[in-house]
Protein backbone atom coordinates (compact mmCIF):
# COMPACT_ATOMS: atom_id res chain seq x y z
CA UNK A 1 0.00 0.00 0.00
CA UNK A 2 1.20 3.51 -0.83
CA UNK A 3 0.98 4.99 2.66
CA UNK A 4 1.45 8.70 3.07
CA UNK A 5 2.65 9.64 6.55
CA UNK A 6 2.74 13.34 7.34
CA UNK A 7 6.19 14.90 7.29
CA UNK A 8 6.59 16.71 10.59
CA UNK A 9 9.30 19.36 10.59
CA UNK A 10 10.24 21.74 13.34
CA UNK A 11 10.41 25.41 12.44
CA UNK A 12 14.19 25.23 12.78
CA UNK A 13 14.40 22.25 10.41
CA UNK A 14 12.16 24.02 7.91
CA UNK A 15 14.43 27.06 8.12
CA UNK A 16 17.53 24.88 7.69
CA UNK A 17 16.11 23.29 4.54
CA UNK A 18 14.92 26.52 2.94
CA UNK A 19 18.09 28.37 3.96
CA UNK A 20 20.25 25.61 2.48
CA UNK A 21 18.34 25.89 -0.79
CA UNK A 22 18.96 29.65 -1.01
CA UNK A 23 22.59 29.19 0.00
CA UNK A 24 23.05 26.77 -2.89
CA UNK A 25 21.98 29.24 -5.59
CA UNK A 26 22.57 29.36 -8.49
CA UNK A 27 22.96 25.59 -8.16
CA UNK A 28 20.45 23.12 -6.83
CA UNK A 29 20.98 22.35 -3.15
CA UNK A 30 20.27 19.10 -1.33
CA UNK A 31 20.26 17.47 2.08
CA UNK A 32 19.13 14.44 4.02
CA UNK A 33 16.36 13.91 6.56
CA UNK A 34 16.95 11.65 9.55
CA UNK A 35 14.25 10.18 11.71
CA UNK A 36 12.81 7.16 13.50
CA UNK A 37 11.00 4.22 11.93
CA UNK A 38 7.83 2.66 13.29
CA UNK A 39 7.33 -1.04 14.08
CA UNK A 40 6.76 -1.82 10.40
CA UNK A 41 10.00 -0.17 9.37
CA UNK A 42 8.23 2.88 7.91
CA UNK A 43 9.30 6.45 8.74
CA UNK A 44 7.02 7.93 11.39
CA UNK A 45 7.26 11.34 9.74
CA UNK A 46 9.09 12.90 12.69
CA UNK A 47 12.44 14.31 11.63
CA UNK A 48 15.28 14.30 14.15
CA UNK A 49 17.73 16.16 11.94
CA UNK A 50 17.79 17.96 8.61
CA UNK A 51 21.40 17.69 7.38
CA UNK A 52 22.54 19.80 4.44
CA UNK A 53 24.73 17.89 1.99
CA UNK A 54 27.01 18.92 -0.84
CA UNK A 55 25.58 18.70 -4.33
CA UNK A 56 28.31 16.65 -6.00
CA UNK A 57 26.97 17.73 -9.41
CA UNK A 58 27.40 21.44 -8.56
CA UNK A 59 24.66 22.03 -11.11
CA UNK A 60 21.60 24.24 -11.51
CA UNK A 61 19.77 21.34 -13.19
CA UNK A 62 20.66 18.18 -11.26
CA UNK A 63 21.82 17.08 -7.86
CA UNK A 64 23.70 14.13 -6.43
CA UNK A 65 24.10 13.90 -2.69
CA UNK A 66 27.84 13.69 -2.05
CA UNK A 67 28.37 10.08 -0.93
CA UNK A 68 30.64 11.26 1.90
CA UNK A 69 27.74 13.25 3.30
CA UNK A 70 25.49 10.24 2.80
CA UNK A 71 27.93 8.11 4.82
CA UNK A 72 28.15 10.70 7.59
CA UNK A 73 24.34 10.98 7.69
CA UNK A 74 23.98 7.21 7.87
CA UNK A 75 26.35 7.11 10.82
CA UNK A 76 24.63 10.00 12.57
CA UNK A 77 21.26 8.31 12.13
CA UNK A 78 22.56 4.98 13.38
CA UNK A 79 24.07 6.62 16.47
CA UNK A 80 20.59 7.63 17.59
CA UNK A 81 18.81 4.50 16.39
CA UNK A 82 17.27 6.34 13.45
CA UNK A 83 17.52 6.06 9.67
CA UNK A 84 17.83 8.31 6.67
CA UNK A 85 14.16 8.81 5.85
CA UNK A 86 14.25 11.35 3.07
CA UNK A 87 16.07 13.85 0.93
CA UNK A 88 15.38 17.42 -0.07
CA UNK A 89 16.53 19.38 -3.06
CA UNK A 90 15.74 22.69 -4.67
CA UNK A 91 14.17 23.49 -7.99
CA UNK A 92 15.59 26.87 -8.80
CA UNK A 93 13.27 27.76 -11.68
CA UNK A 94 10.45 25.20 -11.68
CA UNK A 95 7.56 23.98 -9.52
CA UNK A 96 7.96 22.08 -6.26
CA UNK A 97 6.98 18.89 -8.05
CA UNK A 98 9.17 15.85 -8.89
CA UNK A 99 10.78 16.09 -12.31
CA UNK A 100 10.98 13.00 -14.56
CA UNK A 101 14.62 12.69 -13.43
CA UNK A 102 13.53 12.77 -9.79
CA UNK A 103 11.01 10.01 -10.42
CA UNK A 104 13.39 7.87 -12.44
CA UNK A 105 16.17 8.12 -9.87
CA UNK A 106 14.08 7.78 -6.69
CA UNK A 107 15.79 5.11 -4.61
CA UNK A 108 13.55 4.39 -1.67
CA UNK A 109 9.73 4.19 -1.78
CA UNK A 110 9.60 4.82 1.99
CA UNK A 111 11.47 8.13 1.80
CA UNK A 112 10.11 11.64 1.85
CA UNK A 113 11.18 13.48 -1.28
CA UNK A 114 11.05 17.13 -0.34
CA UNK A 115 11.30 19.71 -3.08
CA UNK A 116 11.73 23.42 -2.47
CA UNK A 117 10.85 25.68 -5.35
CA UNK A 118 12.70 28.99 -5.43
CA UNK A 119 10.99 30.12 -8.61
CA UNK A 120 8.72 32.66 -6.98
CA UNK A 121 9.45 35.33 -4.41
CA UNK A 122 8.38 33.09 -1.53
CA UNK A 123 9.86 29.56 -1.33
CA UNK A 124 7.44 26.64 -1.70
CA UNK A 125 8.23 23.41 0.16
CA UNK A 126 6.34 20.24 -0.66
CA UNK A 127 6.88 16.58 0.13
CA UNK A 128 6.20 13.42 -1.88
CA UNK A 129 6.63 9.71 -1.89
CA UNK A 130 7.72 8.13 -5.15
CA UNK A 131 7.21 4.47 -5.92
CA UNK A 132 7.46 2.66 -9.25
CA UNK A 133 7.09 5.90 -11.11
CA UNK A 134 4.03 6.98 -9.11
CA UNK A 135 4.05 10.25 -7.20
CA UNK A 136 1.97 10.85 -4.06
CA UNK A 137 2.12 14.11 -2.14
CA UNK A 138 2.40 13.90 1.64
CA UNK A 139 1.21 16.53 4.07
CA UNK A 140 3.84 18.71 5.76
CA UNK A 141 3.21 19.86 9.32
CA UNK A 142 5.31 22.26 11.33
CA UNK A 143 5.64 21.09 14.91
CA UNK A 144 7.13 22.65 18.02
CA UNK A 145 10.79 21.90 18.52
CA UNK A 146 10.50 20.01 21.81
CA UNK A 147 13.05 17.24 22.09
CA UNK A 148 12.24 13.58 21.63
CA UNK A 149 9.38 12.29 19.48
Amino acid sequence: MFTRPTLRLTGAQHATIVGNCYDGLPDEACGLLLGPLDDRGEPTGVISEARPARNADASARTYTVDPRDMLAAMRAAEARGHEIVGVWHSHTHTDAYPSPTDVRQAVDPAWFYVIVSLRDQAPVLRSYRIRNGEIAETAVELRSSTRGQ
Binding site: R61, T62, P67, R68, V87, Q105, V107, D108
Partner: protein, 91 residues
Protein backbone atom coordinates in the same frame (compact mmCIF):
# COMPACT_ATOMS: atom_id res chain seq x y z
CA UNK B 1 38.14 -12.93 8.30
CA UNK B 2 34.81 -11.34 9.02
CA UNK B 3 33.89 -8.03 7.48
CA UNK B 4 30.76 -6.18 8.54
CA UNK B 5 28.50 -4.97 5.74
CA UNK B 6 26.03 -2.18 6.51
CA UNK B 7 22.82 -2.58 4.55
CA UNK B 8 20.70 0.53 3.84
CA UNK B 9 17.07 0.38 4.85
CA UNK B 10 15.85 0.16 1.26
CA UNK B 11 17.72 -3.13 0.71
CA UNK B 12 16.97 -4.82 4.02
CA UNK B 13 13.88 -6.57 2.72
CA UNK B 14 16.26 -8.55 0.50
CA UNK B 15 18.47 -9.38 3.51
CA UNK B 16 15.94 -10.75 6.00
CA UNK B 17 15.58 -7.29 7.50
CA UNK B 18 19.16 -7.14 8.75
CA UNK B 19 20.94 -3.80 9.09
CA UNK B 20 24.39 -5.34 9.19
CA UNK B 21 25.75 -8.70 8.13
CA UNK B 22 29.16 -10.25 8.88
CA UNK B 23 30.69 -12.02 5.89
CA UNK B 24 34.05 -13.68 5.23
CA UNK B 25 36.37 -12.64 2.43
CA UNK B 26 39.69 -11.00 1.59
CA UNK B 27 38.46 -8.56 -1.07
CA UNK B 28 35.27 -6.53 -1.46
CA UNK B 29 34.38 -8.70 -4.46
CA UNK B 30 34.73 -11.90 -2.44
CA UNK B 31 32.68 -10.46 0.37
CA UNK B 32 29.94 -9.37 -2.05
CA UNK B 33 29.90 -12.77 -3.73
CA UNK B 34 29.37 -14.37 -0.33
CA UNK B 35 26.69 -11.85 0.49
CA UNK B 36 24.69 -12.35 -2.72
CA UNK B 37 25.07 -16.13 -2.40
CA UNK B 38 23.30 -15.83 0.96
CA UNK B 39 20.84 -13.16 -0.17
CA UNK B 40 20.34 -13.49 -3.93
CA UNK B 41 17.80 -10.66 -3.92
CA UNK B 42 20.65 -8.21 -3.32
CA UNK B 43 22.57 -9.12 -6.47
CA UNK B 44 20.76 -6.80 -8.86
CA UNK B 45 21.17 -3.88 -6.46
CA UNK B 46 24.90 -4.34 -5.90
CA UNK B 47 26.34 -5.75 -9.08
CA UNK B 48 25.75 -5.08 -12.76
CA UNK B 49 25.30 -7.76 -15.41
CA UNK B 50 29.05 -7.96 -15.96
CA UNK B 51 29.70 -8.55 -12.27
CA UNK B 52 31.01 -5.02 -11.67
CA UNK B 53 29.80 -2.64 -9.01
CA UNK B 54 26.36 -1.26 -9.85
CA UNK B 55 26.60 2.37 -10.91
CA UNK B 56 23.81 3.49 -8.57
CA UNK B 57 25.57 2.17 -5.49
CA UNK B 58 28.50 3.58 -3.59
CA UNK B 59 30.52 1.36 -1.30
CA UNK B 60 32.73 2.72 1.42
CA UNK B 61 35.41 0.73 3.21
CA UNK B 62 35.48 2.55 6.49
CA UNK B 63 35.94 6.17 5.28
CA UNK B 64 37.04 5.46 1.71
CA UNK B 65 35.05 5.05 -1.49
CA UNK B 66 36.19 1.71 -2.97
CA UNK B 67 36.02 3.25 -6.47
CA UNK B 68 39.06 5.30 -5.44
CA UNK B 69 40.78 2.26 -3.96
CA UNK B 70 40.82 -0.90 -6.07
CA UNK B 71 37.09 -1.29 -6.66
CA UNK B 72 35.89 -4.83 -6.06
CA UNK B 73 39.55 -5.91 -5.76
CA UNK B 74 40.00 -3.70 -2.69
CA UNK B 75 41.50 -5.77 0.10
CA UNK B 76 39.53 -6.12 3.29
CA UNK B 77 40.61 -7.32 6.70
CA UNK B 78 38.95 -8.60 9.82
CA UNK B 79 36.92 -5.83 11.43
CA UNK B 80 36.61 -3.64 8.34
CA UNK B 81 33.20 -2.11 7.78
CA UNK B 82 31.74 -1.88 4.28
CA UNK B 83 28.87 0.59 3.98
CA UNK B 84 26.52 0.23 1.04
CA UNK B 85 25.04 3.60 0.09
CA UNK B 86 22.42 4.09 -2.58
CA UNK B 87 23.25 6.92 -4.98
CA UNK B 88 20.80 9.73 -4.19
CA UNK B 89 20.25 11.98 -7.15
CA UNK B 90 17.68 13.77 -9.24
CA UNK B 91 17.09 16.91 -11.16
Amino acid sequence: MAVVIKIPNVLRAQADGQASIAVEGTTVGEVFNQLVAQYPGLRGNLLDDAGGLHKFVNVYKDDDDIRYLDGLDTKVADGDVLSILPAVAGG
